[in-house]
Assembly symmetry: C3
Homo-oligomer: 359 residues x 3
Amino acid sequence: MTLPPTAVLRGAQAAAARMADRDTPFVFDDWYVAAFAEEVGPHLLARRLLGRRVVLYRDTAGAVVALDDRCPHRSMPLSAGRLDGDTVVCGYHGMRFNAQGDCIDVPSQPQCPKHVGVRAYPVVERGPVVWIWMGDPAAADLSRLPPQPWLESPDWETSQGFLTLHGSYVRLHENLLDLTHLTFLHEKSIGTPDYAKAPFESVIGDGRFALLRDVVPTTLPPVWADPTGLKGQGQAARIVRSEFLGPGLHEVSVAFYDCHLPADQRRTFHIRTAHMPTPETATTTHYFIVHGRDFAQHDAAMTRTMHDQLFQAFHEDVVGLALQEEALAGTPPDELYEFSIAADAPAVAMRRYLKDRAR
Amino acid sequence: MTLPPTAVLRGAQAAAARMADRDTPFVFDDWYVAAFAEEVGPHLLARRLLGRRVVLYRDTAGAVVALDDRCPHRSMPLSAGRLDGDTVVCGYHGMRFNAQGDCIDVPSQPQCPKHVGVRAYPVVERGPVVWIWMGDPAAADLSRLPPQPWLESPDWETSQGFLTLHGSYVRLHENLLDLTHLTFLHEKSIGTPDYAKAPFESVIGDGRFALLRDVVPTTLPPVWADPTGLKGQGQAARIVRSEFLGPGLHEVSVAFYDCHLPADQRRTFHIRTAHMPTPETATTTHYFIVHGRDFAQHDAAMTRTMHDQLFQAFHEDVVGLALQEEALAGTPPDELYEFSIAADAPAVAMRRYLKDRAR
Amino acid sequence: MTLPPTAVLRGAQAAAARMADRDTPFVFDDWYVAAFAEEVGPHLLARRLLGRRVVLYRDTAGAVVALDDRCPHRSMPLSAGRLDGDTVVCGYHGMRFNAQGDCIDVPSQPQCPKHVGVRAYPVVERGPVVWIWMGDPAAADLSRLPPQPWLESPDWETSQGFLTLHGSYVRLHENLLDLTHLTFLHEKSIGTPDYAKAPFESVIGDGRFALLRDVVPTTLPPVWADPTGLKGQGQAARIVRSEFLGPGLHEVSVAFYDCHLPADQRRTFHIRTAHMPTPETATTTHYFIVHGRDFAQHDAAMTRTMHDQLFQAFHEDVVGLALQEEALAGTPPDELYEFSIAADAPAVAMRRYLKDRAR
């Protein structure tokens, strides 16, 4: 075949035009991970978030501060200066800023001009991560930050990591909302051949989008078969919920159990992964990840093993999404189209939602 | 002097505007080398050709297949998937495509949508190379592919090689159509001081452009003096025909003989080079080369020596053309002009032809 | 705080719009350093100056020649050819140009076309540097080149060096016109804590802009305390004049003396630095520097020590200005603003002057 009929192609392009993609403006009025909590201390940390240059530090009381990383005098990055107590001193001409971003000293003159300063961003520290609100500070709304008690619960054993994605955060959310790809992209890590053909259900809510998939019976890959003891061929149920909870948060929850035992006799094992993408630029993404389990607690060797194997899979995503981005960028716009299938329904709805919110 | 008079400059710019250059659209409706035949096997080979991303493979019957290298579902390069018999399976969600480019399976659902697929390109394998037609498949016209029987003849000893040119294919054709530059650019390899001043004749045909040059008498450089025995000062004739045969093919044919012997007593030695540039992007070119001779057959050491010395010269072209491209790109457009001389006549006509065909 | 009130922000942006910056066209009608004299010899030297590609060489009489570095036939850089006596031979098809830039030979034909050639630039050699006039040659005006007799005087011991600045020459001039930054950017090299708060005076003339600063009493950093013997705490006066003398020249003159001795009993030590930025592109600058002193003459070890310590400081400028350029480029234009303070008065006037001249 050559290209699809023009009507089909234009229809696909019209559908795509309603969905967010790398060209869609960022959704500023929401929470994104700025850093892992352990990264932020009494020192200056520069990071680009949603296209903006931000400097982060912890003040003397331990609170996280996030300021625009550009001195408004002559544009030197504040992160190239130094932290002096709760204040930042620019490394060029010594302008000093407090934690609210106000300029409070200009060394070469006795008076400090009024109305000079940098933007200070609302931040919230929750367990292992620091969330930042890059939009209108007056609109900063904690109710937009879904509770994730498991991240701070002693019943859950967690590990965390960071990847740089050379692709749009939109496509990472899309990737997570249809795990059909476990069978192919993750064939050698966490996927199994039956995954792609398992029945699924779409959940399309108001800003929440999920795909639920029951793979029953299935054979678990070693990373979960070993610690759960569910090692038999076709012994296990693998019940998966992938859910978009906001532009900065996607959670994957999985339950495993012996599908040959009655419900009242079996133990259910849970794993959960918080995927927290923060756009750096339109085509690069900070990819923060915290993974947890409610079994094999206090087993550091198991934590290490699961972490390594899962991050191998997340690395496969990052490699694949970068290839996708290259192919998208390398296709003449008038020839670019994508067709969607049934399993894309939550992702299509999610991308329309992001596009609507970007307006 | 400073710039030429405005009228002269504008005249040169008007002349240049009628000639193809790196900004001119590609000529899609013609044949270009996609790969050497030996590169294509039962595995996926990704290559950018005329700006398009193509994946090549050989099917189970040994035929070469060329498809667009982008899954129309979510834009993963097909070359990142796997070849399964005659079909390609996308490495993201497992969509399967046959050798005609049709999507024939979507694993996550029972039915495969209609009208979904990727472009399949006509290909023709001839001797050492695979030719591809990137334009309208219905217009694929074998009569546009000039026969080159010497490439498959046992009387010719050949060797082949590949260079990446950081320049436009247009300028490579231009380079080949006036070999005056042998005296300067190839001063240390295959050029001689008398080459630039030898008489020449232009041939300007319908889509064929040639420059013929008789360098008689001349002294051959060692690369040809040694195998032909024409080692004397001023002993040789060097009769050269450089011919543009299409946007993807230029052939240089050279005859050497002892110019002091009568025609019926002398032996004539021939060499021939197929220069096959395939645009990768507007400013980068895949440069495929096959060189042959009708003497010193079955002499592998001679083949090696000639190959090495000729590729040294072709490397000089590639280096020079990249410098030319940098200078073109680095000159303000309103100051950019080039003047043409008599030896440029075939190249100017060729560039006008490419410009006309690009429309 | 967040952003300043809109009126303040728009006011700052309006002020900035009147000042030169990296987007402002270059000032062509003035003198810039093309090279150190010792770099130019009987060989071809390619350099980009004010965005133009220039080739420099010394003719057989020792005079410096500067030509456009692009053959007007087929755009090969002339610097890729060879120097033959006073003429340049293009390395592609052998066109020959004399020191005036006229094409005087085309090897492949008996006649050389008229009106073909390249631009030749006026150059003036003065002591250690070669100055070039990139604008209208008819307007080349030596009176625009301020005399700097100390550069050729036996009473001054000098050393020279070169840095590549990844930033605009405009911001380098700005940097030099307010040395408040010595206390911060050069805290570890040539700055002292009291420098930023010392009184200063602005001088705003017709194309000349200066800031004068008397740091009295002060403690000299070792680089000057050692050779002058002014090693005591608060023993020294440090009298500094930073002056913009043209787009290609800024001079910093400093006097040191014992501030506790009466004027008629003290010795005054002088240092002087010619900062000579030549734009390469809008965001990269060739930074030529000659430093001199009128004491410790013929002391090569002292020259080495001072050179190393000063170039450490100049390197700090180059690093800082590159960070500034990144922050400027990385800020959305509608949010970009800078506020100026009293010490910026000469720099603001200088940037307005450059903007006016660019028109």
